[in-house]
């Protein structure tokens, strides 16, 4: 029997890696009349549901996904965030 666990993976450019998107956003701030905002970095957030026996197993799957597919370890860092375990079980076939 397994449960559904929902996670978010936040991927962002590693410190020191050139981030032209972040720079473009930063460059537009002046047009809004906003001051005092710096170090803008643009990343992405991927949300997903994993069916697993427990949260540790689910997290291990997300860890693998995050390092092999969702991020490029050469240029990006990621964090994994649990965003609530879905309560539904998928163990019993209809």
């Amino acid at each position: 029997m397994s449960s559904d666990f929902r996670f978010a993976v936040n991927v962002s450019p590693k410190p020191g890696i050139l981030d032209p998107q972040g720079r473009a956003v930063e460059g537009s701030l002046g047009h809004l009349g906003i001051e005092g905002v710096s170090a803008v970095r643009v990343g992405r957030r991927i949300e997903l549901t994993v069916a697993a026996v427990d949260e540790a197993a689910a997290r291990a799957t997300v860890e693998r996904l995050a390092s092999e597919l969702l991020s490029n370890p050469l240029i990006e860092a990621y964090t994994i965030e649990a965003i609530g375990a879905a309560s539904s079980t998928v163990g019993a076939p209809a």
Binding site: I17, L18, P20, Q21, R23, A24, L69, N72, L74, I75
Partner: protein, 248 residues
Amino acid sequence: MTARIGIVVFPGSNRDIDAVNAIEVVGAEPVALWHESATLDGVDAIILPGGFAYGDYLRAGVIARFSPVMRAISAFAADGGLVLGICNGFQVLTEAHLLPGALLRNRGLRFVSRQIRLVPERLDTPFTRAIGKRRPLRMPVAHGEGCFYADAATLDELERDGQVLFRYAHEDGAAADETGDPANPNGSLRAIAGVMNAAGNVAGLMPHPETAVEAILGSDDGLGIIRSFVDSAAARATEGEPLAVGGR
């Protein structure tokens, strides 16, 4: 003998037809390989063409990396097979860890589609041996994510081991600067336009030699690269010639 060159077609490839044309121009036989194919149809070498494989969703080249044909290509490359990635194909090869580095968004905040100039760093490789004396080479780029990146230690290693194949250059053939130089269209570190792996049988570049193979296309400076590749593939097929890449 006529070399058979496999040209991989991913959903979103759009320069595959140009690659087919370039291979025919130099008298070799192009063989289209669909991304779902788990075998390579016995081809002598592989080109990964330009385009937007799988829409470039997530990151350019990454979804393509996990396709069945890429598994076969990894094995082919590990066995010494010749693989050339052009533009999006270069991005796929870095994501597949068959080539070092990564390709970031262009520094100049725009997609660049124009003629550039580049110079080969060495002429003793399967990808450059037929280039001859013409310098610099003129051909187009067309990409939004072509800024070559690797950390400083890796860049030093690539330079030391002769893995830097091409650099962006000025009209007089002098290498372009890293930043603030229009001759470097995307801000690539050390103006690197193309690299190869340590074994010398896998290479990638952002510019498009395959669309610069006939005068009517505006330039035929890409012919030297295509011909090098095809000649090397044919030599390997007939003689089982080991890839003689001189070390540095």
